[in-house]
């Protein structure tokens, strides 16, 4: 019995499949940024960027770069026809006010109660990189997480009964996409809704600290 984990682009593509036309979506830095590459332009999904961009489009050709137009990762982007610019407070009014159909963030850990840890690996970490994650986490209608199932270094599971890292927000994650599976966060805990081909329930549970539930 063998399985093939998704690579980062594969996780992004898997997420993209689940985003219907018409959704208004914010993509965090890391794996989530790649999601938009897998949404065909004729499926109209509107991407929001924290720095006041509504309707973020693909990267420009090198000779078409507009230095005044970047995304939340400060990468040069284009604006889709129909997009708009707002200032930072209005941009976060959008994020915090429940107007995003979806936000996809990376994470260090997610707990079975939907707690998200994605900004610091220790309470006393000397440097703090919060950015807009706490705002997005509490504000979006749906928060999905994209991350590897297992921590690269220690091999520990990122799907936890309780997060060991400092929280970004409590009880906010609705779904997790990993290189091995897709899991909904439900009142009873993680419920597996998809696995990569070749993966088995027993093996997935073995690689997961939290208890898994099955549909």
């Amino acid at each position: 019995m063998s399985f093939r984990p998704l690579d980062r682009a594969g996780i992004a593509a898997r997420i993209a499949r689940d985003i219907p036309e018409g959704w208004f979506v914010n993509l965090g830095i890391g794996i989530p940024t790649g999601v938009s590459d897998h949404v065909p332009l004729d499926r109209e999904v509107i991407f929001h960027s924290e720095n006041g961009v509504i309707g973020a489009g693909p990267a420009p050709a090198p000779d078409q770069v507009n230095p005044y137009l970047v995304n939340a990762g400060t990468q040069h982007i284009t604006l889709r026809t129909g997009g708009a610019f707002v200032h930072h407070a209005d941009s976060f009014a959008i994020a915090r006010g429940g107007h995003l159909d979806l936000c996809v963030l990376g994470a260090f850990e997610v707990s079975e109660t939907g707690d998200l840890a994605n900004w610091a690996r220790a309470p006393d970490e000397p440097v703090k990189q919060v950015g807009g994650a706490m705002d997005l986490a509490i504000g979006a209608k749906r928060l999905w997480v994209a991350m590897e199932h297992i921590t690269k270094g220690s091999g520990g599971s990122r799907l936890r009964r309780v997060c060991s890292y400092p929280l970004t927000a409590k009880g906010v994650v609705k779904r997790v996409y990993t290189d091995l599976a897709v899991l909904d966060v439900t009142p009873e805990g993680f419920r597996v809704i998809d696995m990569v081909p070749g993966m088995t329930p027993a093996l997935l549970q073995e690689k997961t600290e939290a208890k898994l539930h099955w549909a």
């Binding site: 137009l69 610019f85 200032h87 930072h88 941009s91 976060f92 440097v127 706490m134 929280l167």
Partner: protein
């Protein structure tokens, strides 16, 4: 005749005192680089700097921090490998981390006369430790206070003599909210327009928030 244009950068920055709280917009772009250079030359020290991030190893924020004249940085994130990260790690600079949306909202609150507000952002996190919280409609919220500046350094694309401004694309970012949040709002503008040159329905930052404007034509960038 109202004319907020001043002759040069030193005139624009005159009077910024030691201990000032400085609001500095920018997010990949939209930072008033010439005004930051001017502030470094002007020499004010013991500053509190409010910005989205602590910057990198070069660039306006890093250059200002590298002078050692910023006592405290208030921002949403600091890169470990940056001037700011090293200053903080070495205990040479205070740091207050504020979630990005709360940062923008606290600036707006200062400009709008809101005395405090409750937000779920940051509740149940380390940032909430020792802070006042309240459960509203079942959601745990943090009490946040306005963040006002003594001076805001603003980047504009176009300006007229009443101080009406436009900003380019995503270079708008923090500029409008920081402009409204400071006692003294100083603008560097790429272009000077006659009064009325900005259509009244398309002004991004109204002149009522602006006190001084200096023309910094700079290199024309395409587009």
């Amino acid at each position: 005749m109202i004319d907020k244009f001043v002759a040069d950068v030193p005139a624009a920055l005159a009077g910024i005192a030691d201990g000032a709280v400085v609001l500095l917009p920018g997010f990949g772009n939209g930072t008033p680089e010439t005004l930051v250079e001017g502030l470094i030359a002007q020499g004010a020290t013991d500053l509190t700097l409010v910005a989205n991030s602590g910057g990198r190893d070069t660039g306006p924020t890093a250059d200002l921090l590298a002078t050692g004249r910023v006592r405290k940085l208030i921002c949403s994130y600091v890169r470990p490998d940056s001037v700011a990260g090293r200053l903080f790690a070495a205990g040479k600079m205070e740091l207050e981390i504020v979630p990005q949306g709360t940062l923008a909202e606290r600036l707006r609150a200062a400009g709008a006369g809101i005395q405090a507000f409750y937000t779920p952002t940051g509740a149940d996190t380390l940032l909430a430790e020792g802070r006042e919280t309240r459960i509203i409609n079942g959601r745990n919220c943090l009490l946040e206070y306005p963040l006002a500046g003594d001076v805001a350094l603003i980047d504009a694309w176009e300006a007229d003599r009443w101080g009406n401004l436009t900003h380019r694309e995503s270079a708008r970012n923090f500029n409008p909210v920081m402009a409204m949040a400071a006692k003294l709002t100083v603008v560097q503008t790429r272009h000077v327009l006659p009064l009325g040159g900005i259509p009244p329905q398309n002004v991004h930052t109204p002149g009522v928030f602006v006190h001084r404007v200096v023309h910094v034509p700079g290199q024309e960038t395409t587009p």
